[in-house]
């Protein structure tokens, strides 16, 4: 599906253009020694009824005291059952190839649940739970009535790469002659100055970009390169500074 991004430059000219992910294709593919390509399939190797917890309940009985020792004793007892009668193997199901499947949420009793309550848990870098809240709905802010503003600032490439990790990249593409000029001119300016330009969403153009509904917010930079009459405009996204985790104080 063509995906659009709506840019507005520092002279208040705006245009909708497309973009695509800049993911390199694998340089090496895997084949069998005879030169044929293997087929990859998904195969069932277990199910809810053969899971350890279910087998323990079914063959040994419910867990009475939840301490680790009782659970270990149950599992040792289950091991004897597994050696004697193979209850962990479902002959009808195991080894079956899956061609079509659905994803469902299940409760601890492995029953599908369709009415879920959602809660977002926020953890600190020290792995401590710091907040519980209702999940926020994050909507894309890069197309249609939303616009991504060019800041006009030219930041040296080398300085940026020493500060942030540019983890995601998209190539921005024109859709007609007018948008070609719009993007080519910017790419040329950036190329000549060997610079990256910060871009942002929102009224002031200082908000992070959300590329799709439910996606994460990212700070963004545009990079341009020109070769003759053609250009390459790359949208770099980052949500991480180039820095190491803080060391725990002894």
């Amino acid at each position: 599906m063509a995906r659009f991004i709506h840019f507005i430059d520092d002279q208040k000219r705006d245009a909708q253009v497309t973009f695509s992910s800049l993911n390199p294709k694998a340089k090496v593919r895997m084949f069998l020694p005879d030169g044929s390509a293997p087929e990859t399939l998904r195969v069932i190797k277990g199910s809810a009824t053969t899971a350890v917890a279910h087998l323990c309940d079914a063959l040994i009985g419910p867990l009475e005291s939840p301490d680790g020792t009782a659970e270990l004793v149950r599992e040792i007892e289950l091991a004897e059952h597994i050696i004697k009668s193979d209850p962990e193997v479902d002959l009808e199901l195991h080894g079956k190839f899956i061609t079509d499947a659905d994803r469902v949420y299940v409760n601890p009793q492995m029953r599908p649940v369709f009415r879920l309550k959602e809660e977002e848990h926020i953890f600190s870098a020290k792995r401590e739970l710091v907040e519980k809240r209702t999940p926020r709905v994050v909507l894309s802010n890069i197309a249609e009535s939303d616009m991504v503003k060019w800041s006009g600032k030219m930041l040296p490439k080398r300085a940026i790469v020493q500060k942030v990790l540019l983890t995601k990249k998209y190539q921005v593409k024109h859709i007609n002659g007018l948008t070609f000029s719009f993007l080519f001119d910017l790419a040329k300016q950036l190329d000549e100055k060997e610079a990256l330009m910060p871009v942002g969403a929102g009224e002031k153009g200082n908000q992070p970009l959300v590329m799709s509904d439910g996606g994460k917010p990212y700070r963004a930079f545009l990079e341009g390169r020109v070769r003759g009459d053609s250009y390459c405009l790359i949208l770099h996204l980052t949500d991480q500074e180039l820095k190491a985790p803080q060391k725990d104080e002894a």
């Binding site: 090496v28 899956i98 309550k117 977002e120 070769r227």
Partner: protein
Amino acid sequence: MRTAEFSFKGKSWNAGLSKLNRADVYGWSEIQRHDQEGQTCEIATLVEGRHVLPSGSVSMLKRDEMGNPVKTSDLIGVDRQGTQVDKQPSVYAGPVQLSKGQLDDYLAMAVKAVYVMQSDDENPFEAQLNSGELLQLQFNYREDYEADDAFMLSNGNDVFLVTGQVAELEFLSQHQAESPIESEGDAEAEDELMDFSMF
């Protein structure tokens, strides 16, 4: 910590690689889902509308044209020209030769993983890395047919190894306008890229 040896212009440096996770720097958030009784729910696969397969119940299997299972270790790597390629060694297998990296190549790289380099030894490349230079290498954590591109760089305090694949950029001329109309093929490709774990 296990270390790898990096060499450049006759100098070498032994350093360990510690994977950098965003969560270790900023923390993270996760959505927990509960049923009406308050029990925590997990995502599972439902097959044929009746079999519930908890996480870890499905494996990937490769098979040949006759339907016989094939081990991944029996496969060989072939490049785009159809030539069989040799396995590239792990970064830990021996001294890794560094070369001067180009900033534009680094910027064109689709990033896979980032490591913080840790060493008690003095870093002989510190001055050039701190001045903003990049050092490039071919990187495999484990021996594999295809090595990643990797760049060593510094933020002034720590040295990082950023790995991934440098993309071959497509330069667009005026007549190479992208069609804004969706094709069926595009829609299918997008579906394949969808990660169902997001739900």
